[in-house]
């Protein structure tokens, strides 16, 4: 099969590659250097969660409240709404009122959703 795809200039992305390499390099270098020159004296006290004042009990794996999830859910829905604003904003000037009305309907729908969530009381933090 002689189908070729990807006529795309990687050298334009050389900056990204250099950024990645230098970023990784700095982290590895500083951690490696610190490991070489620091004194090593592990004691169990150093592994405690708080230095003083609090004695931790139980594990860190508690069940979180479902309210966190509902806020995350609202974020996801409006995040997906926001992705449609980018291409819309680019063509808004050339399409004029038509695009404005379309986006108005689009956002109005989701405002109904937000209003529903508000009325249901899921936005209230008790």
């Amino acid at each position: 099969m002689s189908v070729i795809l990807g006529s795309f200039l990687v050298s334009e992305y050389a900056a990204v590659a250099v950024f990645l390499l230098v970023g990784t390099g700095i982290v590895l270098f500083t951690f490696g250097l610190a490991k070489v020159i620091r004194p090593s004296n592990p004691t169990p006290i150093k592994l405690e969660t708080y230095e003083c004042g609090e004695t931790p009990y139980g594990t860190a794996e508690i069940q979180y409240n479902v309210r966190f999830y509902i806020y995350a859910l609202l974020f996801v829905i409006f995040d997906v709404e926001a992705i449609f604003l980018f291409p819309w904003a680019l063509v808004y000037r050339s399409l004029g009122l038509f695009a404005f009305v379309e986006m108005f309907i689009f956002i109005a729908m989701l405002v109904f959703g937000l209003f529903y969530a508000w009325k249901k009381g899921v936005l209230k933090w008790v």
Binding site: M1, S2, V3, I4, L5, G6, S7, F8, L9, V10, S11, Y13, T59, E61, Q63, Y64, V66, F68, Y69, I70, A72, L73, L74, F75, V76, I77, D79, V80, E81, A82, I83, F84, F86, P87, W88, A89, L90, V91, S94, L95, F98, A99, E102, I105, F106, I107, M109, L110, F112, G113, L114, Y116, A117, K120, V122
Partner: protein
């Protein structure tokens, strides 16, 4: 180091990241690690999107999948699982039959892939990106665009009704 060589290198490195990340998502015993590797895999897929000069979609992949969906997954993990509970099994007893079926399925796909005569010739010029998408979305595909808002409204209301404690 020619540009063609660098393109190949970038593609195969990113592909390796995608496949390795996918394998970890499926095989990891810790659900939280699965979620983190899902982020890694989806981010690498965004890299492939950039190689296919779909820049807007690569950005949206990062925004929606990595930023929102994977975060939602992590919230789900935090809400429902006991990570250190070793009695929970993450895989069932059908691992080998599943792998066998999947290998057969993959072989079928590869056979179809090598057997299909894709139209040869020059690749079309890269599409001009976000502006073309915006114009299409606002004119030709305006009905799907408005349906999307209805779908999101339904998902929002439905998810709140299901998840709300009462």
């Amino acid at each position: 180091m020619t540009d063609a060589f660098l393109t190949n290198l970038a593609f195969y490195v990113i592909s390796f990241c995608v496949i390795a990340g996918g394998i970890f998502v499926v095989s990891s015993r810790n659900l939280f690690h699965s979620a983190v590797f899902l982020v890694f895999t989806l981010f690498s897929v965004a890299g492939i999107f950039v190689m296919l000069s779909a820049y807007l979609l690569a950005a949206i992949q990062v925004l929606v999948y990595v930023g929102a969906v994977a975060m939602l997954m992590i919230f789900g993990v935090m809400l429902t699982t006991q990570l250190s509970n070793v009695r929970i099994r993450y895989m069932n007893e059908q691992v080998w039959p599943a792998l066998l079926i999947c290998a057969g399925f993959l072989a079928l796909l590869v056979y179809g892939l090598t057997d299909t005569p894709f139209a040869t010739g020059n690749v079309a010029a890269p599409v001009e990106g976000a502006k073309a998408i915006g114009t299409l979305l606002m004119t030709k595909y305006v009905l799907p665009f408005e349906m999307v808002s209805v779908l999101l409204l339904a998902a929002l209301v439905g998810a709140i009704v299901i998840a709300k404690k009462d």
